[in-house]
């Protein structure tokens, strides 16, 4: 029977997260994030870890808090809503979950470092010549005695300059079909031969190019089978798509736009919110956010029931992120020249937050699988259409 309320324990948890954010998401943390664009702050992250939230779904008998899928969803959305630095936390959850499922005993030891807030993991998938076609990765891992030698270049490895490990997709076999020659490694980023160059985005985010110059790693760093990397990737991307509601950051945009519409007057003394065109803009965004929230809740419910859908995750990401750009664009137009001054944090007003989130929204339709890739999955898996690429 449909039921659209979270249990009391989840609402209590949400209240706890909001209390935590009031205390730990300080002006200093905000300023650091605004200045660096790191998407990560060690002081804030260790405070999260101290509450047991660095890896919240780690079961109790493995030393974690064993939070359920709803609490994990709520935690991420509340971080988004408050504008907390969360990228490092977020990129760590997927590989950590996969390590728990597939990792060796030694690799599962890393989960302790993650739970204690001492380590985060970044994702090394994309390359200069392979983005959407992620299985076309060329970064080589070649057997060398007991270990491997990795050489190549990765693009957009956000947090490579702060993370302890990179969840790295490599090519180990060039003689077979591209999906069958991939292997995933958990590479320590302090290994000799790794060179990191910063890249800045239009939303002020820092990401990186990472060069692997004959980096020697032990076979113990391998995750899953040799040439079995695609199944590891599928597990990872499945988790990523199922976490793609983006409700929290969409609601942050909505709240800023609504406040700005209430407090901005036009020449005749009416507020922007008095105008039917703006009421419609805000109402449409409210509808989009309600849908994204429901899709997010459904993902959490499916996870809790061990229901796997290949279509619902991509639908969620496609809908949530495309409407994010559309709504942010409408809100920029609504605010007119008032939306032009650039955001700063702390101290940015609601209009400039709209400006920032408009820039930010574009990335959400690209990273983790572009909207075009999502549409392809939905068309094939959801409608049975032929491959269109």
């Amino acid at each position: 029977m449909s039921e659209f309320e979270l249990g009391a324990h989840v609402e209590e948890f949400r209240a706890g997260v909001r209390g935590f954010l009031a205390e730990h998401l300080t002006d200093e943390v905000r300023e650091h994030e605004w200045r660096t664009g790191d998407g990560h702050n060690w002081v804030f992250h260790r405070a999260l870890a101290a509450r047991g939230w660095a890896f919240p779904t780690l079961p109790v008998d493995e030393g974690g808090p064993g939070l359920d899928d709803y609490c994990r969803f709520v935690l991420l959305q509340e971080l988004y809503l408050a504008g907390a630095p969360l990228v490092g936390w977020n990129t760590t959850q997927m590989p950590a979950t996969v390590i728990r499922q597939l990792g060796s005993a030694a690799q599962r030891e890393i989960l302790r470092e993650i739970a204690s807030g001492d380590a985060i993991i970044c994702l090394g998938f994309t390359e200069p010549d392979s983005g959407s076609d992620v299985a076309a990765a060329k970064t080589r891992a070649v057997r060398d005695g007991e270990g491997w030698i990795v050489s190549g270049q990765k693009m957009f490895t956000t947090l490579a300059h702060l993370a302890q490990y990179c969840f790295l997709l490599t090519r180990t076999n060039t003689e077979v079909a591209k999906h069958r020659g991939l292997t995933v490694f958990l590479v320590p980023l302090d290994a000799p031969g790794i060179e990191i160059q910063p890249v800045r985005t239009t939303a002020g985010e820092r990401t990186n190019i990472v060069f692997y110059n004959d980096v020697v790693i032990p076979d113990a760093a391998r995750l899953g089978e040799i040439d079995g990397g695609w199944s590891v990737m599928n597990a990872t991307l499945g988790i990523e798509h199922a976490n793609a509601s983006f409700w929290g950051v969409k609601q942050r945009l909505f709240n800023a736009a609504l406040q700005a519409a209430r407090s901005t007057t036009d020449g005749s003394g009416r507020t922007l919110l008095d105008h039917p065109i703006n009421r419609e803009r805000l109402a449409r965004a409210a509808v989009h956010n309600e849908v994204a929230l429901l899709m997010g809740y459904r993902s959490a419910w499916q996870a809790s029931q061990s229901i796997h859908s290949t279509v619902d995750g991509p639908i969620t990401k496609l809908f949530a992120t495309e409407t994010f750009i559309a709504d942010a664009s409408e809100f920029m137009d609504m605010l007119g020249p008032g939306s032009l001054p650039a955001f700063r944090d702390p101290g940015g007003d609601d209009s400039s937050l709209v400006e920032f989130l408009y820039r930010y929204s574009f990335g959400t339709t690209i990273y983790g699988g572009s909207s075009e890739v999502m549409r392809g999955i939905v068309a094939e898996q959801g409608l049975g259409l032929p491959r269109s690429r």
């Binding site: 029977m1 449909s2 039921e3 659209f4 309320e5 979270l6 249990g7 709803y70 609504l258 009416r270 919110l273 008095d274 105008h275 039917p276 009421r279 419609e280 805000l282 109402a283 449409r284 409210a286 509808v287 309600e290 849908v291 429901l294 899709m295 809740y297 459904r298 959490a300 419910w301 499916q302 029931q305 279509v311 619902d312 639908i315 496609l318 809908f319 495309e322 075009e372 999502m374 549409r375 392809g376 939905v378 068309a379 959801g382 409608l383 049975g384 259409l385 032929p386 491959r387 269109s388 690429r389």
Partner: protein
């Protein structure tokens, strides 16, 4: 949080799915178009399964809740069932809520008469389009400040030829054989508002069913139609808007489920969610059928191909209540408070 269906919902889906598969084939839908948009045989079968009385047959309420009626109306939309199930459910629910005064009207419902609701308030000497008005014995509507029951002549009226081939009737509140005042003033406005809210949620559900089937027709055609040496479904210009349609339909269905739940449980957000579901489902259905028709190329323009049956109804089912885009103003009123501006607001749906 729970997105699963109950045994009862699954049973309803099975029973009504079988009913429509047998009694609402595309051939029957086309035949009904030539007979005023109503299939008497299907209506009788519907009565055998409980008919409008499923939604309310006794004074004081007690009919099935929206979560169960929602299962039926989505199938109704999917099969374009040429019987006014949404309107009769809404009217039966309204009458059941009204208590003793509506007992004679409920007797009509139980007897199997078609009953309906005039969705827009009658102004003095006004004439409004009433959905299913051409095949109904009883019409409930807001006549000024009075909520009235109009008993119409048992002669079937001629439907005006219309976009959705529905049994629409242009009706004034004075056209009745009998006129019974059910309640008045604020009580009337509140009862009517509640019924219109039910109508929006159930119509949104029917539009979801319609849109999903239209999308399937578009996808099926794209898989079989060959041009440039292969099926046109392999072109992203064809496939990707279909994918966007599936996502929007999924979203519209979730909004319907939440709105149904909100009404059934007396949640304070019911009004906002009903308007959200209606506005978004109407817009989604309209957009989905447009692309699904376009995928068919020139064939989509012909009467022979079925997609046009969906295309016309996607607009027609929503528009009997007014401009669906104005529903976003209602969402705004619910969420942000009523605006200080007098213009525009209130000109749309009652």
């Amino acid at each position: 949080m729970d997105f699963s269906s109950t045994e009862e919902q699954l049973a309803l889906a099975s029973v009504f799915g079988q009913l429509f598969a047998k009694e609402s084939s595309i051939e029957r839908v086309r035949t009904a178009e030539l007979a005023g948009g109503f299939d008497v045989a299907l209506w009788r079968k519907f009565l055998e399964l409980g008919g409008p009385a499923i939604a309310g047959s006794e004074a004081g309420g007690g009919g099935a809740d929206l979560r169960h009626l929602g299962v039926v109306v989505e199938l109704c939309g999917r099969w374009l069932a040429p019987v006014p199930i949404v309107e009769s459910f809404v009217t039966a629910r309204l009458l059941a809520r009204l208590g003793a005064v509506a007992v004679p009207c409920l007797e009509r419902v139980v007897a199997g008469d078609v009953v309906t609701i005039a969705l827009r308030r009658w102004l003095p000497r006004g004439i409004e389009v009433v959905p299913a008005g051409a095949v109904s014995r009883g019409v409930v509507g807001l006549d000024g400040d009075e909520l009235v029951w109009l008993l119409l002549s048992d002669q079937m009226a001629t439907a005006v030829a219309n976009h959705g081939s529905a049994p629409l009737r242009l009706l004034s509140a004075n056209d009745a054989d009998e006129r019974l005042v059910l309640c008045d003033s604020t009580e009337a406005v509140a009862a009517f508002g509640e019924a219109v809210q039910d109508w929006k949620i159930l119509t949104a559900g029917a539009l979801v069913g319609l849109a999903e089937r239209a999308l399937e027709l578009g996808a099926e055609y794209a898989k079989t139609r060959e041009q440039f040496g292969g099926s046109i479904g392999r072109f992203q210009a064809i496939a990707h808007p279909l994918a966007d349609g599936l996502a929007a339909i999924d979203g519209a269905r979730l909004l319907c489920l939440e709105a149904q739940w909100a009404v059934d449980t007396g949640n304070a957000r019911a009004g906002a969610l009903a308007s959200m579901a209606f506005a978004f489902a109407a817009e989604t259905a309209s957009r989905v059928v447009a692309h699904a028709l376009h995928v068919h190329g020139g064939y989509g323009l012909t009467i022979e191909y079925d997609i046009q049956l969906y295309q016309r109804r996607a607009k027609a089912w929503a528009l009997v209540a007014g401009d669906p885009r104005l529903e976003y103003q209602r969402v705004a009123d619910e969420l942000f408070g009523v605006t200080s501006l007098p213009d525009v607001i209130g000109a749309g749906i009652a």
